[in-house]
Amino acid sequence: MCRCILGEISNMAAHNFLWSLTKNCFTFGLIGLTVSDRYASIVPVRGSSMSPTFNPTTDSFMGSLSDDHVLMEKFCLQKYKFSHGDVIVFCSPSNHKEKHVKRIIGLPGDWIGTPMTNDVVKVPNGHCWVEGDNPSSSLDSRSFGPIPLGLVKGRVTHILWPPQRVRHVERKNHQNRHSPS
C-alpha cells in the first residue's frame, strides 16, 4: 500500500511538472509574440538585391545559414515617420505573403528620376519610393511603382548574424532624388 501511494504521488508530481512546463512555455510564447509584433523582431534577408549592405556574397554552399539576419524595429510604425535612406521591410504589393527588404529613396512629395525611361515621377501622398542597393538584381519601385506606407512592417537598424558582420545599418543618400524645398 505504501508503494501504491508513493507511485501515485510521483505520478502527480510528474503531471504537475508537465503542466507547469506547458504553462511556462505558453506564457513565454505569448510574451515573445507580443514583443516581436509591437517592438522589434529578427528577420532573415534573402537574395542579393541589397548587396553589399546585406548578403554581400552569394554562397549557395551554405544556403540559408549564411544569410544575414537583421534586427527590425517597429517603433517607427507609431507615427509612420521615415527618413530618406532608411532600410525598411514591407509586404510586396503583388503578393501580400512575401516580405521584401529595400531602402527608402523618396518620401511623399519627392520627384524621382528614372534613368531607364527618362521619366520623372512624383511620389504621391502616403506612398514611398524604394530601391535596392544592388540595382542590377533588385525588384523594386522601378518595376512596381511607389508603395503605400501602410505596407511597411518595420525598419532595419542592425545586422545581428553572421557574427563577423554585426554592425549598425547606416542611412545612405541617393543622387537621383529631388526634394521640394
Binding site: 509574440l33 504589393p93 501580400h96 502616403g126 506612398h127 501602410g150 511597411v152
Partner: protein, 155 residues
C-alpha cells in the same frame, strides 16, 4: 536583527510586486494576440458607407482570420489602412479581387459615365456603399491586399 527582518519583508514585497506585474503583462499580451490574430473592435463613422454604417458611428467587430488565409470575397465589408494617410483605417466594401474587370462611375455627381478597369495582381478594388460621398478606389486606385486589416462580420 531589525535590518534582517526589514530585508526579508522587502524581498517578500518585491516578489509579490513582480508576480502581480507578470500577471498584468500576461493579460496585456493575451489581449494583443487576440486583437491582432483573431478579432478586433472598431468604431466606424462617416458618410461613405451609408446606409450600412451610421454617419455618427457604429461599433463593428472585424475578424482577422479570413484576411490571413485569403478568404476575402467581393461583397465583404473590410477595414483597410488608407493608402493616402497610413495612420488612418477606413471601412469600405470589396468590389473586385485581382484579375476582375470592374466597372464604376467615376464621378456620380457630375456624369453617368462608366469606366472599366482590370484589378492588378495582389490588389483589391474597394468602394463605399454611398458612392456620392466616398473617397475610395475610384480616387486612389486599387489597393494592395496587404493593406486589408480585417473583415467586418458584426455590427
Amino acid at each position: 536583527m531589525g535590518v534582517r527582518n526589514q530585508l526579508s519583508l522587502f524581498v517578500t514585497f518585491a516578489k509579490e510586486g513582480f508576480e502581480k506585474s507578470l500577471l498584468v503583462g500576461k493579460f496585456f499580451c493575451c489581449l494583443h494576440v487576440v486583437n491582432t490574430y483573431v478579432c478586433t473592435p472598431a468604431l466606424a463613422y462617416g458618410p461613405s458607407m451609408l446606409p450600412t454604417i451610421n454617419l455618427t458611428g457604429d461599433l463593428v467587430l472585424a475578424e482577422r482570420i479570413s484576411t490571413r488565409f485569403n478568404k476575402v470575397c467581393p461583397g465583404d465589408v473590410v477595414l483597410v489602412r488608407s493608402p493616402v494617410v497610413p495612420r488612418r483605417i477606413v471601412t469600405k466594401r470589396v468590389i473586385g479581387m485581382e484579375g476582375d474587370r470592374v466597372s464604376y462611375v467615376a464621378d456620380p455627381k457630375s456624369s453617368d459615365k462608366f469606366e472599366t478597369v482590370v484589378v492588378p495582381q495582389g490588389h483589391v478594388w474597394i468602394e463605399g456603399d454611398n458612392i456620392y460621398e466616398s473617397n475610395d478606389s475610384r480616387k486612389f486606385g486599387a489597393v494592395p491586399y496587404g493593406l486589408i486589416e480585417g473583415r467586418v462580420f458584426l455590427r
